[in-house]
């Protein structure tokens, strides 16, 4: 088994904290790791990335070739595209949809989302909204770690253990808020993955999941099934576009009936 994961975002978004948590969890799970990261000048609001290499045999290289990574996990939508060339053709992009526009030339977001949502294997989450709900506006990174966790080769419980360790010195409130953010992201990620497994197109899922109101627990199977059925309908694609464009947050349980009505 080997699994190469690219984690990316903008300096200050907590990219390296995500890597730290996965490192610890992977080693406790008995894997070998190599984990290069960017320090220094780029951390001043520039593009920041880390690579986590996980394998059950010793790993030689700190860098990977293009077309090697299994996942790009991004805390910012444009940044997820910066590393797409590292992905295998069947690799996953897991990204926040909250743009961080600290450059003048930042692209038109509707164009950006059109390109991003064309990725064949994609989980998009509004990490900003879920982090706010968790009571921790800076926890976008932990939401995204949650969104990716079900697909990582490391037990989610171990990830959560080291997430708690990361915030051990910051007090209970901050620790709990980050765990909640993580669990909401996990719920969103698992929900999206089930829809994908059920045949819903990636671009449809990516436009719906960011507008749903996740709780810090998995979404009930029957709710997922209802969404799956609705999104597989002939107008699923146009419905998803409407949901994404509306920017309104929909409740998982009642959202569907509201839409139907």
């Amino acid at each position: 088994m080997n699994y190469d994961l690219v984690i990316c975002g903008v300096g200050g978004q907590g990219v390296l904290s995500i890597a730290w948590v996965i490192d610890q969890a992977a080693v406790e799970a008995g894997f070998h790791i190599k984990q290069p990261e960017v320090h220094g000048m780029a951390q001043r609001g520039g593009a920041v990335s880390a690579l986590v290499r996980i394998a059950d045999v010793p790993i030689a290289s700190d860098l990977v070739a293009d077309g090697t990574a299994a996942m790009v996990l991004s805390v910012e939508p444009m940044e997820s595209l910066r590393y797409a060339k590292l992905l295998r053709p069947d690799g996953w992009i897991v990204t926040d949809v909250t743009p961080l526009k600290n450059v003048a030339a930042y692209p038109d977001t509707s164009r950006l989302f059109d390109v991003l949502f064309s990725a064949p294997r994609l989980i998009a989450v509004d990490a900003g909204a879920l982090a706010r709900k968790a009571g921790m506006v800076k926890a976008n990174n932990m939401v995204m770690l949650g969104a990716a966790s079900s697909m990582l080769p490391v037990p989610t419980a171990l990830i959560e253990k080291y997430l708690r360790a990361l915030f051990a010195t910051k007090g209970e409130r901050i620790g709990n808020a980050n765990v909640n953010a993580f669990r909401m992201g996990d719920a969103a990620g698992r929900f999206a993955a089930s829809l994908a497994a059920g045949g819903v197109p990636a671009g449809v899922i990516a436009r719906v999941v960011p507008r749903l109101d996740f709780e810090p627990r998995p979404v009930a199977d029957e709710i997922t099934a209802q969404w799956q059925q609705r999104l597989l309908a002939a107008d699923g694609g146009s419905l998803a576009k409407r949901i994404f464009a509306s920017e309104e947050v929909l409740a998982l349980e009642s959202g569907l009936s509201a839409l139907v009505g």
Partner: protein
Amino acid sequence: MDRILLGDEAVALGAVEAGISAAYAYPGTPSTEIFETIRRHAGEADPPIRGLWSTNEKVALEEGVGVSYAGKRALVSMKHVGLNVAADPFMNVAVAGAHGGLVIAVADDPSMHSSQNEQDSRYFADFAQVPCLEPSNQQECYSFTREAFELSEQLHVPVLLRLVTRLAHSRAVVTSSPPRKQNEAQYVADSSLYTLIPSNARRAYGKLLDKQPAIAEYAERHPANALTLRDARLPGILVSGVAWNYLQEALGPALEQYNLLRIGVYPLPVRKIRQLLDASTEVWLVEEGYPFIERYVSALGLMREPPIKGKLTGHLPRSGELTPDALRQSFGLPAREALRLRGLDEVLVGRPPRLCDACPHDDAYAAINEAIADIEGEVRVQGDIGCYALGYLKPHQAIHSCLCMGASIGMAIGAAHAGMKPSLAVIGDGTFTHSGMAPLLDAARENIPIKVFILDNSIVAMTGGQPTMATDEQVVDLVAGLGVPRSRIHIILPTPQKKAENVQLIRAEIARDGLSVIIARRACVTYAKVIKEHRRSRKPAPA
């Protein structure tokens, strides 16, 4: 004990457990985490490890030499260009030798992720005729550091440990071994070796030359210089440091079709290289950094049998760090298929680093830019190294040079002598004490008409918030002490509210003859908390 460590952290732990009594450093990416880690563990050692963030790399190394002279072990760490600053003590302590183990850990930055050049520190070790250890992974960072101290004491030479960015800033599990006790303090028996007046220096240099066969034999026999000869009809690869990792990633099982010599310890193991050359149809030279080994082995292309393929021959990229992709291309392997998204290039723009929101440098630059805007003719501002080097970029476009630590003031002096008026320089508080004071002394001595802006934000911010040597009134005292009249030292508060007032003052100083120093004083917003801690923990001045 197993720990997940950065390469830098593994060096630090290796040094701590090798029994260092002191460590010195100047912050610089990618070396900074070495000293930061030592500092975190300093109190656990018995007795606690001494040391500090030194004023600059030269001072750091001299402090380390003093520890060695007194019989104890010291680690000195810096980035590659820092070794230029420390070159004088480095070249001379090679002659003097080491008493207590002395290891200089230098982190090179191929591809210039955070640097002005990608110079290769192996040349410095070669130049000084001291051993160089080049770890290829985090475990070797730890074990080579421990070994470097043994080697230093065994052969009485300082040892250079060469890291590169991708190793310094990459994590893996490292297994450590039981710590060693610190040395007892005992002066070097023969002080003449460290008293390099010519008569002694000639004798000491003779001793350094006498050590060379033992140093060469050490490298020749070292297991990190590993030769694998498979078949005389095969091509060969000579590979060093982290390039070995990329080679495995890029070539995989195809590596078995090559004779192989791995190098991790210098000077070069000549006998093993001879064997590889004799046994191979051609030899690839794969090394991270400059074509250091290749220049030796190929004699700059004068040696044709067997053919050498490397950076000098155009078979590998001449600049930038190596990557698995670069090696695949060099060895004729196809790029792997990767995910492709249509239209990606149109929605992906660069995101360079930038000054933080509410950064005092931004306001300082805004005031300087406005003050010089209506001067006839071109006005250029000599810049320096730190966050404020980002002032070159839009939207500031406020500086027009950034050469090396402390260069701004000297360059402004030169530009003034060349007839440029006004001649301006911008330098931060950390860079000023690192190497800006000496040129300001030149300017003060002759009242050279330059205008120096010291951006005093109370911290060394770029490298992660290390303490500055002087801030606030200490900077004023230093400037005055160098001979700048108090009437020509001005303090401005760089804020948007004060902009008009600041512009007026800068204009007035530019209009005056002679030297002026304008200190833009406002604490860094990003490290406000750290600055408070530094202020609290600052030792009182001697009474």
